[in-house]
């Protein structure tokens, strides 16, 4: 029997209240306005696997990441990591033990390091917080080890974040994330702020570390090529919903959801093969007032009356999950 998946996300939803203040609502007769940032998202991540979420701005991918690491409470649904439910019905001790095993890497390496702390203290913070090493010498030794692991010098522990370039700072963020010996890393656009040559260094480093420590990644990006390079399975998000989950190879060779197809066609063609591309029409609708039925129908070339009224449910289909009324009808 195979091991159960490390991460199991079921029916995850999050609604934000973006109404005007109470008095304005009363005086101006406005309705309460709710933004459904994430709706009914389910996926699993196997151990030592990289699962990626991809989507355009406003698709809810970062909101999912925050709920998975425990920074944001879901409105509905559950996040279960290694058998422990992050939000409901678990003992506080179990959750604390779980927190050590989950770490996060953020997009902006300039904003995610305290400018007034030396690098050594930044990296040692999780070690101290979880009591993983005792005594100054042991902590210093461990910090030096971590810095060497991410390709920096142990002496860099004495410097401040501003003395490093963007790529080096992201290495520091990775060292900090690894300091609590986690199993599961959530990476929210880890290379979007970096130049391509530096991005390649960081992506290679992340792969090496995964092999070395058997890490599991939830990798979030808007860049399809980066996702293709990193992930084994990919979930495509559109306006808060997962529209397709598929193995990377299958998604890129034969996308089944019209939105996945559209995203792929939009990627600039470096090979200059002159492959035919469908121009994408329209823009992402306002998430406060999403279109009825399938949220993608106003931009979809295949939309039918059913799409305009009924929300398509995710269906398992040839080893993948697709939420589209027309999937499998051979029209995509």
């Amino acid at each position: 029997m195979s091991e159960p998946p490390l991460v199991d996300v079921r029916g995850l939803s999050r609604t934000f209240d973006v109404s005007k203040p109470w008095l304005n609502r009363v005086l101006e007769g406005d309705e309460r306005r709710l933004l459904k940032a994430v709706q009914d998202v389910s996926f699993t991540i196997e151990r030592r696997e990289t699962f990626a979420l991809v989507g355009e701005s406003g698709s809810g991918k970062s909101t999912v990441a925050k709920m998975v690491v425990g920074l944001l409470q879901p409105t509905d649904g559950s996040v279960t990591i290694d058998g422990v439910d992050m939000w409901k019905g678990s003992a506080a001790g179990d959750i604390k033990a779980l927190r050590r095993r989950i770490q996060m890497i953020f997009q902006d390496p300039y904003a995610s390091l305290n400018p007034r702390w030396r690098v050594g203290r930044i990296i040692a913070d999780p070690i101290r917080a979880f009591g993983l090493a005792k005594g100054k010498a042991e902590i210093e030794h461990r910090t030096g080890e971590l810095l060497r692991l991410v390709g920096l010098d142990p002496l860099d522990a004495r410097k401040y974040p501003h003395e490093f370039s963007g790529g080096q700072r992201q290495r520091i963020c990775i060292a900090r994330a690894l300091s609590s010996k986690p199993q599961f890393l959530v990476c929210d656009e880890p290379t979007s702020a970096l130049d391509v040559s530096v991005q390649a260094q960081i992506l290679n480093l992340m792969r090496d570390l995964q092999d070395q420590f058997g890490l599991t990644y939830l990798f979030i990006s808007h860049n399809l090529a980066v996702v293709r390079h990193m992930a084994a399975r990919i979930g495509v998000m559109y306006l808060g919903r997962l529209v397709e989950i598929a193995p990377a190879g299958a998604l890129f060779s034969a996308p089944q959801h019209p939105y996945s197809r559209m995203l792929l066609d939009a990627v600039p063609d470096l090979k200059m093969s002159g492959r035919p591309r469908k121009m994408i029409e329209g823009e992402i609708p306002n998430p406060i007032r999403p279109p009825p039925g399938c949220a993608f129908h106003p931009r979809c070339p295949l939309a039918t009356d059913q799409c305009r009224s009924e929300v398509p449910l995710p269906l398992a289909f040839q080893g993948r999950t697709v939420a589209c009324h027309e999937a499998g009808a051979g029209r995509i």
Binding site: S57, V196, A200, N223
Partner: protein, 328 residues
């Protein structure tokens, strides 16, 4: 060959500081022909935006053009007085910047902004200018232009705003458009629309375009020729197909290899060690030599000048040696 619309020769941009003079753009030369799109690509700090600013005469003091010349249609523009240069900007050189929100005035209707631009540069009446503004908005793909011309910038989405900015840049029918990271702030699906639009409009009008971006994909899609910049200099310049598919300069090779692609599932990306040098620490000789896997002794000492290889020009001792070797 016809005279190029834009011709830059030996351009050098300096920033005097207390610790010495920083050279942001160092002796670069290129031409852009009518209807041609020249892509200028490089990583942050390569000097690509600074080159664009130098061409339109918008370098912030204390920065200054310290050498070389910029010619528009054969006439020097880098030494013009401020007032004369101001008349050229907008009229003969259009500009598109990264963030469409900052290039539009939030307090004016978009129609008024376009009409103002048209009337500032052409002797037409209010009505005629408005008609032209509507036609322009239609050209850039804004549906119902007649109704939307009286909207404010905040009533448009990011992609639509960038279309308005393009309309504004083309309002006075310029000979040259400088687009600095025009799609960087946009989502991928919108980015593709904007690239296609810019390319189509400039081709139809015969406008020369200098497209500045860090995104090789955008260059491959849009540009006819590309200049790859590194540490203030052009490492390689040539037809986009040659540069993208068979680069000569080790930096271009590394850059192309480090871009993840959709089809190849290589376990590792090619990587260039280190990072672009800061302006105050540009190495002697070839600025790329500390990161170059193939550096020769000569690369540490002498600065390579651009030399022709096929249809490209490459500033590298390795390829220069190969050409000399072949000639012997």
């Amino acid at each position: 060959m016809t005279r190029p619309v834009l011709s830059v020769r030996g351009l050098r941009v300096e920033f005097p500081t207390r610790k010495g003079v920083l050279v942001a753009v160092d002796d670069i030369s290129f031409d852009i022909a009518e209807g041609e799109v020249l892509g200028v690509v490089g990583e942050s700090g390569a000097g690509k935006s600074m080159t664009g600013s130098a061409v339109i005469g918008l370098i912030e003091p204390p920065g200054r053009i310290a050498g070389g010349e910029v010619r528009l249609d054969g006439r020097r523009i880098d030494n013009l007085p401020y007032e004369e240069m101001r008349r050229i900007r907008g009229r003969r050189i259009g500009m598109i910047f990264q963030d469409p929100l900052t290039s539009l005035n939030p307090l004016y209707r978009i129609g008024d902004q376009i009409v103002e631009t048209i009337r500032a540069h052409a002797p037409v009446g209010e009505k005629a200018a408005r008609q032209r503004a509507i036609a322009l908005l239609g050209d850039v793909g804004i549906q119902g232009a007649e109704a939307r011309i009286d909207s404010y910038p905040h009533q448009f989405s990011g992609g639509m705003r960038q279309r308005v900015v393009i309309a504004l840049a083309l309002a006075a029918d310029p000979e040259l458009v400088i687009a600095d990271e025009p799609t960087t702030a946009l989502d991928v699906s919108i980015q593709a629309q904007i690239i296609q639009l810019l390319k189509r409009l400039c081709r139809e009008r015969g406008t020369a375009v200098m497209l500045i971006t860090h995104d090789m994909g955008v260059i491959a899609e849009t540009a006819d020729r590309v200049a790859v910049m590194y540490a203030g200099r052009i490492a390689e310049i040539g037809p986009v197909r040659d540069v993208v598919q068979s680069p000569h300069h080790p930096y271009t090779k590394g850059l192309m290899g480090s871009i993840p692609t959709l089809d190849a599932n290589a376990p590792r990306l090619m990587q260039i060690p280190g990072a672009m040098p800061r302006l105050n620490a540009i190495p002697k000789g070839c600025a790329f030599h500390p990161r170059c896997m193939e550096a020769l002794g000569r690369c540490w000492q002498d600065r390579p000048e651009p030399a022709a290889i096929g249809r490209s020009e490459v500033a590298c001792w390795l390829t220069a040696g190969a050409v000399a070797g072949a000639g012997r």
